[in-house]
Amino acid sequence: MSNSQALKKSVLWDWLTTVDHKKIGIMYLVAGAFFFVLGGLEAMIIRAQLMFPELNIVSAQAFNELITMHGTTMIFLAAMPLLFGFMNFIVPLQIGARDVAFPFLNSLGFWLFLFGGILLNLSWFFGGAPDAGWTAYVPLSSAEYAGTGLDYYVLGLQISGAGTLIGGINFLVTIITMRAPGMTMMKMPLFTWSSFVSSALILFAFPALTVGLFLLMFERLFGANYFIVEAGGNVVIWQHLFWIFGHPEVYILILPAFGIFSEVLSTFSKKRLFGYSAMVFATLIIGFLGFMVWAHHMFTVGMGPVANAIFAVATMAIAVPTGIKIFNWLFTLWGGRIKFTTANLFALGFIPSFVLGGVTGVMLATSAANYQFHDTYFVVAHFHYVIIGGVVFGLFAGTFYWWPKIFGYMLNETLGKWFFWLFFIGFHLTFFVQHFLGLMGMPRRVASYLDGQGLNDLNFISTIGAFFMAVAFVILLVNIFVARNDKAVADPWDGRTLEWATPTPVPEYNFAQTPVARELDALWYEKMQGNKKLPVAEPLGEIHMPNGSILPIIMSLGLFIASFGFIYATYWVSVIGLGLTLGCMVVRSVKEDHGYHIPVEEIKQDKEVG
């Protein structure tokens, strides 16, 4: 098939079948933003209910469903895909590649995530959402105590988790084998590095969740007994499996955000990253230690003082590489020329916010004191400080930073600054007081609280802060809409890394000729050498591209259909669904697809237009 043929297809068909990492990246961003709004609305209902004592805006049952879905949605369906969106769009550009290693699998990963997310959220309409918390501790999540919502949870997360795993492997291989000539591992931009480590964590963490979800599914649907005490089961096994996945998961989220901050701070202080190799090693150490500390979520479950002490000390150790990163960022700024763009405001705002989240992390790691903190609003405050102050700030910094490259226009800076300040103030207002609520005796996941316990004022403040954040987010949406005619140039921020060397909009083959990276911050290096263009590794020639495919969406749909068969015990539906998926796998395996080539004339034409 030639390229001209591809152009004839409808726009919709093109997006459904695309294997282009940039389009998949945009789909991740759009879907992730949708779920982010959904999770945000759930959060607003939660805070509204807790604004005053003993409110009954929603029932306790509905509240439990809301907190479960808020957590699950934000982690799995918002934060992960939004980061995957940036990783997809940016990493191949940063390493000077034409695509990822497995374009087909990339598309499959996206559709699996999307169908998993939709499946999970359909639970709202079919008998109620899961209500056992995003951690789904047994026995509360077992068949005896929880309804079909938990079946949707188990299967929805299983499907979207498979997509994430595929994505992780894809990025690992892409970053290892697809780098442009000259770009050694130690010349890679930090965002690529952190995406790499994050992908490795996905690879080794998600299978534990896969097993956990399978066990819960088999128990709920097929009568297995892993967690049924009367039948010799053990409920703590679920917690271990969940946190062996769950703790690395928070590093999976935060490391790419760290990468974004590294890019943004470096760009807007016009300095190379201070202590690049220390930053890389700190990232690796954090990734490694991330697997050694899962049980600090379980200090109160009765593991005994030896285990508690070991996991406490191991957890504290993570503060060291994290501290190294904070100081290196500070010294990146030191001596620079700091420009306060919205992207940079988020990166700068991240530093104090995340430090606060980090120090409460160390406090929580103190096992003997953790018995007071555990499962209270102190913990709620802590993880929102690291996840919003870290991950969400990172996503917003990345949004303002890469928006011109991804969507071709500049977001408005005035509205951007309003957005930042409202969000920043609202965020601290919401969550800072929650530390005290926890210590004053407010457990987490309470549907309300009794009057007369001294908890009213701080809860009220917290809810006001949440409204600030909601207003701020609306300003972002307005910004996206009103700024759409402000066309962006290819390199609006005087960038340092290879993505800014591509034209905007980025052609589907990214680089007409594969570039050579001669130094860290390859583009900046050439600029400083007085070169207008990057050196190239090859003469202009025809470019081989992979064909699009509809199979990923059908495969994901198959699993989606099969899930309904499992949930409602109509196994012929499951057989059809699984058959569809396996059938597509066979088709994919049997049908050799060698892609197509873009002729030189077309590339030349693009270059003239660009």
């Binding site: 202590g275 479950v301 002490a309 001596g335 003997a368 004191a369 953790n370 007071q372």
Partner: protein, 336 residues
Amino acid sequence: MKQLGKLLPLTAIIFLLTGCGELNLTALDPQGPVAQMQLSLIKLSLYIMIIVIVVVFAIFAYVLWRYREKPGDTHIPKQVEGSKTLEIIWTTIPVLLLIVLAVPNVMDTFTLANVEADENSITVKVTAHQFWWEFEYPDHNVIAGQDMYIPTDTKIIVQLEASDVMHSFWVPALAGKQDNVPGITNEMWLEAEHPGVYKGKCTELCGEGHWLMDFRVIAVEPDKFDKWATNMGEPEQEPATQLAETGREVFQASCIACHAVGGVGGNPVAGGPDLTNFGEREVIAGFLEFNDENLEKWLRYPAETKPGNTMPAFNHLDDSEMEALIEYMKGLKVLD
């Protein structure tokens, strides 16, 4: 942002010093050695962390002020690669700070895990149910519901179990929490220095009634505790009034299958709390102020009053039966 950032730790200290929150609920005003130890550790960790915060925020504020882009400035800053010395400094100092915190933490972790009995200590077996608490005193052969009576200045060894889902036993003013896990017995200890009523809560999401799964730890002088324990083990006393006698008949007909009084009745599998000393409760169902209206509301509409609980409704009782039942229940006391 800078100012706000600087204010944060300051507010933290103010809050801590004033010991905010309701007395006998907050963990910031400990009423026993366990909570005291934990608060000391929290303070130690907070002080160490404030050192970190101050250093980072100071550098941060200085850098932002000193190196902000000034109008017309177009110079290219020197591209500094890094500094080995600095890297070593900001690796070593945090390690030292963490050791200062880790050592007492490890010691405290072992101290808190020491549930060995001493000559005075008593053991309380706490079984958590959706959504109420059962306290068994094996040494005294007593079972109580909702209110956990303990003697002051005595090491209380708490054994935690759960009958359905996971729960968690937390009395912030006396001790941090441990989980009630089905199939496992966890142990912790606590001690109250002064007589008083300390609020306890379930801190592990356990269903609809989770937020109302409160209980009380009532610390009394050892003499009074002995009296309580002895009387709890005795058979029920004859009701004082005729009305209460009638109420007792209603109770025998309607309630005793699930709720024991004076060692009679109840159901260890599907039953509810022991009501031997019900008349001495501060609250009904763990949270309702103790008065006649609330008791009647609870008996007539339990599902609406505390969603998710398994008590059947007794709305079919007529007003005179209800009045008698309430009179009887109010008279269930062991400490008079």
